[in-house]
Each structure stands twice: as structure tokens, then as C-alpha cells.
């Protein structure tokens, strides 16, 4: 049922508070509500932090309890947590949300145009397939096509959106 546990070395994401948005490793448990926490590579000093503001991630580091910051840092860099984190879907969603909030009016227009074009392409293909299916009756080969054709268009759209966002940055 539960897959992520509070343990020494568990990397946690801080969801609110002064260090919101940063990653931190649990060094020791103080009592039922607090943990000693340290984020040498994410700019969080060693401190006590309540569990409530932490959200556990999938990453676990190996160091003994109450290890000093240097050891935590070594373990962090050995596991390359920063890069692994950036590659997770969680981090990507956060980044996408931030980008969306920063969109200017011009960006919104460009995204709208990209979305519109993409939907048009998809609709066009769908209509084609529907027409073919209705004309010649159900055939198993044709049901494979929609999946193939949607993927390149998704790549197109995300490419365009990213391009639009990149040009504005």
C-alpha cells in the first residue's frame, strides 16, 4: 500500500514554507512530527522540519543517521539526485506549471494557434479514418493507424509550444 517511507536518507520535496520547492534529505527523526533535515545541494541548511511540509520522493540516499553535511553532500552528488529529479515527471510538471503562469499575452496567442493547428490535423486524420471505416466496414489494420498518427502530431505540438516559450524567454 505504501511505497515511500520516512527513513534516513529519504529525499523529500518541501511543499510549503520558506524553502518551498526545494529537495532535502532526512538525516534523523526527532519525534513524531519533526525530522532533522539537510539539503546541501539545494540551499537548505541543516534544520528541524515538520513532516507535514515534506513530500517524500522515490529517492533514497545511503548515509548513517546524524551524518554530517559533508557526508550528505557526498551521497547526494554520488547519486546525482539533482539530475534524476529534473528527469522525473513530477519536476517536469512543476516546471510546466511555472512556465504556464509566466506566459505573456503574445505567448498565449502563439500557444492557441499551435493548439488549433494540432487539433485540426488530428481531426482531419480521424475524419479520414472514420470515412474509410464506414465505407469498407470494420477492419483490424485501420485501428492501428490512429495511434501512430497521433504521436508525431503530439511531438509537433509540444515542439511548437516549447519553441514559442523558448523564443519568449
Amino acid at each position: 500500500v505504501f511505497k515511500r517511507f520516512v527513513e534516513i536518507g529519504r529525499v523529500a520535496f518541501i511543499s510549503f514554507g520558506p524553502h518551498a520547492g526545494k529537495l532535502v534529505a532526512i538525516v534523523d527523526v526527532i519525534d513524531q512530527n519533526r525530522a532533522l533535515v539537510d539539503g546541501p545541494c539545494s540551499g537548505v541548511r541543516r534544520q528541524a522540519m515538520p513532516f507535514k511540509c515534506m513530500q517524500l520522493t522515490d529517492f533514497v540516499l545511503k548515509f548513517p543517521h546524524s551524518a554530517r553535511q559533508k557526508c550528505v553532500r557526498l551521497a547526494w552528488e554520488k547519486e546525482n539526485i539533482n539530475e534524476k529529479w529534473a528527469a522525473t515527471r513530477w519536476a517536469k510538471k512543476i516546471e510546466a506549471r511555472e512556465k504556464k503562469a509566466k506566459m505573456t499575452d503574445f505567448d498565449r496567442y502563439k500557444v492557441m494557434k499551435a493548439k488549433k493547428m494540432r487539433n485540426r490535423i488530428i481531426k482531419h486524420e480521424m475524419k479520414k479514418l472514420q470515412r474509410m471505416a464506414s465505407k469498407k466496414g470494420k477492419k483490424p489494420e485501420k485501428s492501428e493507424k490512429p495511434e501512430k498518427s497521433e504521436k508525431p502530431e503530439k511531438a509537433k505540438k509540444s515542439g511548437k509550444v516549447q519553441k514559442a516559450q523558448k523564443t519568449q524567454k
Binding site: 509566466k102 505573456t104 499575452d105 503574445f106 496567442y109
Partner: protein, 293 residues
């Protein structure tokens, strides 16, 4: 005269007593005396300290008349050079003017006063107004411009017949209104004035640094014209006044001149033309206070 002018410079004069005596005739030493005069002029700035010692704040030891004597003001009486006064004595403003008068046997002209006596004196005097401070007329008001609005910014008009349209900002006019253009071919907004308060400034900018805006585009150019000449004819007053606005040729030519320059810059940015053609609108889930413009 020399003695009157610089009584305080006697100290400086004493430094070069020899030169003063011999400076009259010899040309070589005249130059020296000129130099000395020049030096004296520079040194005039050495003013004497106050000759009126202070007893308490605001109270001096000597009275006005005593000070007059102590400062030797009886010796220092300056009058302005008189020649120009003599000339200007003759330039009094004209009091009367002779005007031609028509009609038979009227003696062709009359002498008329230019500044006439008031024709009415009110029975009650107008009470003297209290002094006010800092109440300036509109033409002297300070014009401000939001930092987010710079030449070339794309603005969203919020009011007026062009509400929702995205428009390019050109410059701020003397009354504080913003001069703005569509450009006309893109969204049918001509060269027009817009109010700063009723406009959203986006962060999108067009490079207008090379664009020259004609100097005759001022507030007077854009002001609405109204004909009001009743001429005592009460039949058709409401019809003959300007009901339909006609676009003058000058407006068309100015529009072309400005727009051609701007369009060239707009074409350089991809998708900007389509952006300016579109209108701004809110829909479900879109909150202006959360939008970044």
C-alpha cells in the same frame, strides 16, 4: 568714482600703492593698471563681515540709521545709466487711436481710447480670495507615463469602439494621451489617441527606434471639431452641424507614412501580425489579476 566704487578694496589697493600713482600716463603701466582693475574686480568678492554684531537672535546692536552710517551708504548711491531711460521715455504705450467712421457729414474719423474705463462697478466688492498653493491649470500639469509603456509597446485597448484590440504605441502627446496606431491594415485602428488608464500594456515590444513620426501629429490635430454658428436661424440647426465624420486626405497620407515604417518592423517578428489582428477576451478560468501580460 573709483574711490566710491570700491571702498572696501582699500586694503587691496594699499598693497600696490606704487602702481596706482604711476598708472595714469604710461601705456605700459596702463596695461598693468587694467590688470589690477581686473584683479580688483575679481577681488570684489571679499565682502566685509557683518558690521552689526548680534545681541540675540534677530536683534542687532545698531539701529537702521546707525547701520546706514556704519556701512557708509551715504557714499554708495548707485543710479542706472541714464541714456536708455531717456530713449524709452518716448516709448509710452499709445493711449488713443483714431478710427475711420462711415456715414455722411460725420467727419471721417473719431479718436477712440484704447483702454477704456470700466462700464460697471459692482455694488459689493468681490471678497478677496485666499492664497492657494500649487493649483495649476491643466496645461501645466505634470504628465506621467507608466514605466511599462515605452515606444513600440503593444497595448490592449479596453474602452471605446476599438475595445479589445491590440495596438502599437507610438508616443505620448502633450496632454498626456497616448498616440497609437493599429496599424490600419492590420486591425482597422487608425492613428488615434488613447488614454493611459484605459489600456493594458503588454510586455511585447516592436522596435520603433527607426520610425519617424511626423511632428504635426499633436493634440490639436486629433481634437474633435464642432461647428457652433447658430446665426439666429432656428429651423435647421441640428442638421447642418457636422454629423458625419469624414476622413481627410491628410489623415490618410499621415497614416500611410507612419504605418509603412511600422509594418516593416512587424513583419520581422513571426506571428506578430496575426497577434495584432486578434482581439483580447476573457473566458472561463481566465482571471486578469493572475495573467501576466
Amino acid at each position: 568714482a573709483a574711490g566710491e566704487k570700491k571702498p572696501g578694496e582699500k586694503a587691496a589697493g594699499e598693497k600696490k600703492p606704487g602702481k596706482k600713482k604711476t598708472s595714469e600716463k604710461k601705456p605700459a603701466e596702463q596695461k598693468a593698471s587694467q590688470k589690477e582693475v581686473g584683479e580688483k574686480k575679481k577681488k570684489i568678492k571679499r565682502h566685509h563681515a557683518s558690521r552689526n554684531p548680534v545681541l540675540a537672535r534677530g536683534i542687532g546692536r545698531y539701529s537702521r540709521s546707525a547701520m546706514y552710517a556704519r556701512k557708509a551708504l551715504y557714499k554708495r548711491k548707485y543710479t542706472a545709466p541714464e541714456t536708455k531711460i531717456e530713449k524709452k521715455k518716448k516709448e509710452k504705450p499709445r493711449a488713443t487711436i483714431t478710427k475711420p467712421v462711415g456715414g455722411d457729414k460725420n467727419g471721417g474719423s473719431r479718436v477712440v481710447k484704447i483702454r477704456k474705463m470700466p462700464r460697471y462697478y459692482p455694488t459689493e466688492d468681490v471678497p478677496r480670495k485666499l492664497l492657494s498653493h500649487g493649483k495649476k491649470p491643466f496645461c501645466e500639469h505634470k504628465r506621467r507615463l507608466r514605466a511599462s509603456i515605452t515606444p513600440g509597446t503593444v497595448l490592449i485597448l479596453l474602452t471605446g469602439r476599438h475595445r479589445g484590440k491590440r495596438v502599437v504605441f507610438l508616443k505620448q502627446l502633450a496632454t498626456g494621451l497616448l498616440l497609437v496606431t493599429g496599424p490600419l491594415v492590420i486591425n482597422r485602428v487608425p492613428l488615434r489617441r488613447a488614454h493611459q488608464k484605459f489600456v493594458i500594456a503588454t510586455s511585447t515590444k516592436v522596435d520603433i527606434s527607426g520610425v519617424k513620426i511626423p511632428k504635426h501629429l499633436t493634440d490639436a490635430y486629433f481634437k474633435k471639431k464642432r461647428l457652433r454658428k447658430p446665426k439666429h436661424q432656428e429651423g435647421e440647426i441640428f442638421d447642418t452641424e457636422k454629423e458625419k465624420y469624414e476622413i481627410t486626405e491628410q489623415r490618410k497620407s499621415d497614416q500611410k507614412a507612419v504605418d509603412s515604417q511600422i509594418l516593416a518592423q512587424i513583419k520581422k517578428v513571426p506571428q506578430l501580425r496575426g497577434y495584432l489582428r486578434s482581439t483580447f477576451c476573457l473566458s472561463n478560468g481566465v482571471y486578469p489579476h493572475k495573467l501576466v501580460f
